[in-house]
């Protein structure tokens, strides 16, 4: 610590290099903090459970050709029955959407039908009595639908059915203080209520974007068979048979009715693919930010090694003199480490300010969350350690300078 004064004097003579290293540390800290924060946020998102048993699930989107909507009901019925007969299929049902599909219905749920603001936002899944088994969703209270409750309805003339199953998250939002089972609620602006007959542990909404974060686990299951010529089928394979039914199920559908199209890029997907596609940009962003962090730290470390090596080379003679005057190897080593620590501290102080400023800017422009100070602290420690690590090799070299250098001209 006694060395701080001479170090400051020496640094004054190397202003440019000192400023450059400090600046580099500051900018690196600002970017690394924010990048780590983005990574953490994205990774948390992509680990969210859907509430489904995701293995052995297959999804198919199909559209009937040349059939008006009112003629579709028996066709869907026959499709579902055919699907349940396919070898290797455990169960199947027709619906409008499923978790992470990337498109579906959302609406407000109200306790009071005249309330301006809904109590909670929710998604609606139109299903039948096979849905829970197919999804592998866990019913934690109440009962499943029975076959007699399923109504057939045109999406353009849909009325809220008398029964509904809701997720635990939605039930707790609607009835925070008591059990929601057996209680009524209203969907959209409908004046007739649905009664909650069952509660499932969890079901995610069809979307993965950040705009759904505040109702991610709010879902309503309604006993409705929608008659739209665009239909989604969710199919559970018997264990280990997913690959087989991925081929046999489309064939069975075409055999049942040739006049259809299995639509586009989302036509046939295993649930693993559904999840991968839903979180593609989240995962990509996390990987990209990770790579950026690593390369950035490596470049900063390399810069410190480079400049310190130069300083050591430049000061060989002075080091020799100090050694001749009795300084130990340790003294020389700690001189360079302290020097770097001082520069590093200036750098991280500026950098912490920059990191927070950069985050505030991101918050205002990209609706990102506020940076937690833990990340700044972690970044500060990381960069100071990185600096000490980077300076170690040149400092060791400096400490090995022999006192004879003092007598030698460069």
């Amino acid at each position: 610590m006694l060395q701080i004064k001479p170090i400051l004097v020496a640094l004054k003579r190397h202003k440019a290099g000192t400023i450059l290293i400090a600046l580099q540390i500051a900018l690196t800290l600002a970017i690394v903090c924010n990048a780590l924060f983005i990574i953490q946020q994205r990774v948390t998102r992509l680990q969210r459970p859907t509430g489904l048993q995701e293995s052995d699930l297959l999804t198919i989107q199909s559209r009937f050709v040349g059939v008006a909507d009112d003629g579709v009901a028996p066709l869907i019925r026959s499709d579902v029955l055919a699907l349940r007969q396919v070898t290797g299929v455990e169960d199947a049902y027709a619906t409008n959407s499923y978790p992470l599909r990337g498109g579906g219905w959302s609406t407000g749920a109200r306790l009071n039908p005249d309330a301006k603001k809904p109590t909670a936002q929710t998604t609606q899944y139109f299903v039948d009595e096979h849905a829970l088994a197919t999804m592998g969703a866990k019913l934690i209270a109440g009962r499943n639908f029975n076959a007699g409750e399923i109504v057939v309805a045109d999406p353009k003339s849909l009325k809220t059915p008398p029964q509904a199953i809701v997720t635990k998250a939605l039930a707790e939002k609607l009835y925070p203080k008591e059990s929601a089972l057996g209680k009524p609620f209203y969907l959209g602006d409908d004046k007739t209520p649905a009664t909650i007959i069952g509660i499932v542990e969890r079901l995610q909404v069809p979307w993965s974007g950040t705009w759904t974060d505040n109702f991610n686990d709010n879902a309503v299951l309604l006993p409705v068979q929608l008659t739209s010529n665009f239909t989604v089928y969710l199919i559970r394979a018997k264990p280990g048979q997913l690959a087989d039914i991925t081929k046999s199920v489309p064939a069975a559908l075409f055999k049942n009715n040739r006049m259809r199209v299995i639509t586009g890029e989302r036509g046939i997907r295993t649930f693993a693919t559904v999840r991968e596609q839903a979180y593609k940009s989240d995962r990509g962003m996390a990987i990209l930010m990770g790579v950026v962090c690593l390369v950035l730290l490596a470049i900063t470390a390399a810069g410190i090694v480079g400049l310190t090596s130069f300083w050591v080379g430049q000061r060989r003679k002075q080091i020799g003199v100090r050694r001749a005057l009795g300084a130990t190897k340790r003294d020389i080593l700690s001189y360079f480490l302290t020097e770097n620590l001082l520069i590093g501290i200036v750098g991280v102080v500026i950098g912490a300010g920059l990191a927070i400023g950069m985050n505030l800017w991101l918050v205002s422009h990209f609706e990102m969350a506020r940076l937690s100070l833990v990340y700044v602290l972690a970044g500060v420690v990381l960069l100071l350690l990185l600096g000490q690590g980077a300076v170690l090799a040149p400092a060791m070299r400096a400490s090995r300078v022999s006192p004879i250098e003092a007598t030698r001209s460069v």
Binding site: G17, L27, K156, D189, G284, M285, L307, Q314
Partner: protein, 437 residues
């Protein structure tokens, strides 16, 4: 002299291979990160129709009212059916089109064939001229076909290849979802990026359209929108006609207005229309209209994905750090040769010559960094699919501009970074250096 300096530069680069490699790598990584993210940004933020973007407008009318409007009392993104039809009839702008996305099925010839999906838009005749749609054969249907609700279709070159083997199929019939249409035009491959006219309701970076049919015909056949349908408040319709009369918005209008006077006139018309609706009791609120041109609309709809902007910013910061790093390393490298500079100065080299020599040396580092950066950029662009949806990833590509830009940016940035170190090198006092040795 120039070639001599280049030689000197190369020799000096070889003398400290580690330091040189470090600089080249820093510049290479920095420039590559910037270029990769820029290539994506360029693809998603470009002007899709530069010649006309100032003259194409999307009118918005407040049909929801203050209780249900978007943030900041912004009117809905599209029109409901009633307003759309009213505007279609009044035809206040010289050129206008209503549109919405559709998905139908087509059946190739041959008994055993299976149908496939075709995607496109219902439009009005003006659509093709307004948006400069290029044609391979034929052209837009005449406006009279809009009025007569004719069963005509414009198909894409790709669909024509698929259905008719690429021959001139004008006048032939195709069956879409069970109804026959006569082919009147075949477009060239056309798909502006972003697809500005269907940002809401369609998809900004979707696949090229296969078909376009008259909106009037689509209404007769009750073809539902394949895109967004947004309703607010009490949803009280119970069938197709009820839906058409409801406050659900799903039709996107576009108008072409060629002068400031026309724009002002049209805005007046919109406000007049909204005021009429208020008087008629349809709307219980004051007129609230918007008239945005293409770029204003893309900006308002935030078409550039968040990922693209953030990664571009991070990459630029990254590049800045690489350059600061390079300044430091160049400084170390140049000043280490203070003795050599002193000798040269003493032997009569002017400051200018020192500048030239060291800037050339820096330029060589920049060039090497640029070449490395180019390799990394090529590698990185093939990995863009990691971060972005395939439709967007496909847009990022390495072209001549990008290659040139990579090399130029890299050389230029390195030379700018070298200014300070070079200045320091040129300040070396010959006498002082000679004496100290």
């Amino acid at each position: 002299m120039f070639s001599y300096y280049v030689q000197l530069g190369v020799r000096s680069l070889k003398r400290n291979p580690w330091l040189t490699a470090l600089m080249v790598m820093a510049i290479g990584f920095g420039v590559a990160a910037s270029m990769i993210t820029y290539s994506v940004f360029r693809a998603v933020s470009g002007n899709p129709i530069p010649e006309k973007s100032e003259r194409l407008f999307i009118p918005q009318i407040d049909s929801w009212g203050p209780k249900y409007n978007l943030l900041g009392n912004e009117p809905p993104y599209a029109l409901n059916y009633v307003d759309a039809m009213a505007m279609m009839r009044t035809h206040k702008a010289k050129h206008q089109t209503m549109l919405y996305p559709i998905g139908l099925s087509a059946l190739p010839r041959g008994g055993q064939s299976i149908p496939f999906t075709v995607e496109g838009f219902t439009v009005q005749s003006d659509f093709f001229a307004m948006f400069d749609v290029p044609f391979q054969y034929g052209g837009a249907w005449p406006t009279s076909d809009d009025d007569q609700r004719a069963a005509v279709v414009v198909i894409s070159r790709k669909l024509n290849d698929k259905l008719f083997g690429g021959e001139n199929s004008l006048g032939r019939e195709i069956t879409l979802s069970g109804h026959n249409y006569r082919v009147v035009g075949i477009t060239e491959n056309w798909n502006p990026k972003p697809r500005f006219f269907a940002v809401w309701g369609g998809s900004s970076f979707g696949n090229p359209s296969d078909i376009y049919i008259p909106i009037s015909r689509a209404m007769d056949l009750r073809i539902d929108t394949a895109g967004n349908n947004s309703c607010r408040g009490r949803i009280d319709y119970s069938d197709w006609d009820g839906w058409l009369q409801s406050n659900c918005v799903w039709v996107t209008p576009w108008v072409q207005l060629d002068s400031a006077a026309e724009v002002a006139q049209y805005r007046q018309f919109l406000e007049g229309y909204a005021a009429d609706q208020q008087r008629a009791g349809r709307y219980g609120w004051a007129p609230n209209v918007r008239l945005r041109n293409v770029m204003e609309w893309l900006d308002y709809m935030q078409v550039v994905p968040k990922e693209s902007s953030i990664s571009l910013l991070v990459a630029l910061g990254f590049f800045a750090i690489c350059l600061i790093n390079t300044i430091g390393l160049l400084l170390a490298k140049f000043l280490r040769r203070a003795g050599e500079i002193g000798v040269r100065r003493a032997l009569g080299a002017s400051r200018r010559e020192i500048y030239v020599q060291y800037l050339i040396e820096a330029g060589a580092v920049g060039l090497a960094g640029g070449v490395l950066g180019l390799l990394l950029t090529a590698l990185g662009i093939s990995g863009v699919g990691l971060l972005f949806q395939p439709q967007i990833a496909r847009l990022a590509h390495l072209d001549f501009t990008l290659v040139g830009l990579t090399l130029l940016v890299s050389i230029f940035a390195t030379m700018v970074a070298a200014l300070y170190p070079t200045w320091r090198a040129a300040q070396v006092q010959p006498a002082w250096q000679l004496k100290s040795n």
